[in-house]
């Protein structure tokens, strides 16, 4: 058995803004209508089933930490300390520029320091004289230095030449010794060869003489026969 009010009533049942009067009326109907009551119980049961969900733990992830740090590192403002001393290099440069532009002179003497701005003619003359003295001193020092370098270079050259000559003499003597030994060896070999050849020649002559003697004997024998 169905009830035509079921759908509407259950829509309203879940409304949060239902008035007290409407809520009473709804409860009254539900207590008297088995169909609506059963329908409500079944959907409430489903809702309770849903609410039994157990929270799942989140798998590990970096929570956007890297992105956050990377982007905020790029935007990080300058530290207060740096900001408070940032003017110092500019101020120092400006002070040095002023010193140069206004030709500031600081002179120290027994009575203390004196600071003057701009150059005077006397000061310029003194400056030129001291510059000339300084230049002369530098030139003298440079000439002495050149002379020392030249003498040292000459000495080095002589030593080098001597060393080269000694080396050359030594190598030449070695070469002559080697050549003498070679020639001596060759001479001995030639003597041996000559002796061998002479002995061979003597043997050959001896054979020739023997042959001639045999021939003479033979000729003499033939003469005797006739």
């Amino acid at each position: 058995m169905s009830c035509p009010k079921t759908q509407y009533l259950l829509h309203e049942y879940f409304s949060e803004d239902l008035s007290a009067v409407a809520r009473d009326e709804l409860d009254r109907h539900l207590s008297g209508c088995a169909h609506c009551n059963a329908e409500l119980e079944s959907v409430l049961l489903v809702q309770r089933d849903m609410q039994q969900w157990q929270e799942q733990s989140v798998p590990h992830w970096d929570r956007g930490r890297e992105l956050f740090r990377r982007e905020h590192r790029a935007e990080r403002p300058l530290s207060r300390l740096w900001l408070s001393w940032q003017w110092l290099p500019t101020a120092a440069s400006l002070a040095m520029l002023c010193v140069l532009l206004f030709n500031v002179n600081v002179v120290s003497n027994e009575s203390g320091f004196s600071v003057s701005f701009g150059g005077s003619a006397g000061a310029n003359i003194d400056l030129r004289a001291s510059m000339a003295r300084f230049e002369q001193a530098q030139r003298d020092e440079m000439q002495q230095l050149v002379a020392r370098v030249e003498s040292r270079q000459d000495s080095n050259n002589v030593q080098l030449l001597q060393a080269v000559m000694e080396q050359t003499q030594q190598s030449t003597a070695d070469s002559f010794d080697q050549m003498y030994a070679y020639f001596e060896q060759q001479r001995l070999l030639d003597l041996q060869d000559m002796r061998a050849g002479y002995e061979q020649l003597v043997d050959s002559d001896y054979e020739t003489i023997r042959s001639l003697q045999q021939l003479v004997n033979y000729v003499g024998y033939q003469g005797d026969i006739r």
Partner: protein
């Protein structure tokens, strides 16, 4: 300090560049958003994607949060929008309209590829959760979203209506239809088991 005030303090610190405040803010809401995503998408990888997209959206728009509404409402609005976007993207990627139309005409709004249970889905340890996900899987995206907001986030019908830009009556109708459908699914499950 109340939770809302604490949220606002963390947001202010995060906007000034405190990574610690940002992480603490994320930790306060990550579980809720992850479980919200898990119930909406039905699997852990999509839920993780959704959660990361939500927090990226929060991070990108944190300076726009004025404190007019609760931070929790704001973040769940972002989560809802991201879930709708994700659902749309997945529908476009798998364009086979093979879903049955036995009940509502918006059945095609289900997350695609959910008819067969995914490995991650099977890995959900709690039996109760698995059962709930199976039941939610039978709902359309609209219905699932309303059940999520009403049952799990305890929003009022008016708040849901405002969030989804529909009338409160439509919300009530969808909610009741969803409960009825869940009842049918639950009865089927009981019969099968």
């Amino acid at each position: 300090m109340s939770l809302i005030d604490e949220d606002e303090a963390l947001i202010a610190a995060a906007l000034k560049g405190s990574a610690y405040a940002w992480e603490k803010l994320v930790k306060r809401y990550e579980s809720k958003i992850y479980n919200h995503g898990l119930r909406l998408t039905g699997n852990s990888s999509d839920a993780m994607d959704l959660m990361q997209e939500v927090f990226l959206g929060v991070y990108r728009n944190l300076h726009r949060f004025r404190g007019d509404a609760k931070f929790s409402s704001w973040i769940f609005r972002i989560a809802h929008n991201k879930a709708v976007d994700m659902n749309r993207r997945k529908r476009l990627m798998t364009s086979s309209p093979k879903f049955s139309s036995e009940d509502e005409g918006d059945e095609f709004e289900k997350f695609p590829g959910r008819t067969n249970l995914e490995p991650e889905y099977r890995l959900v340890s709690q039996e109760l959760n698995t059962r709930i996900l199976t039941m939610l899987n039978e709902l359309s995206m609209d219905q699932r979203s309303i059940v999520e907001l009403k049952v799990f986030q305890s929003l009022t019908f008016d708040e849901i209506a405002e969030l989804q830009d529909i009338s409160a009556n439509t919300v009530k109708t969808r909610f009741y239809s969803a409960l009825k459908k869940l009842k049918v699914v639950s009865e089927k499950e009981n019969v099968l088991s």
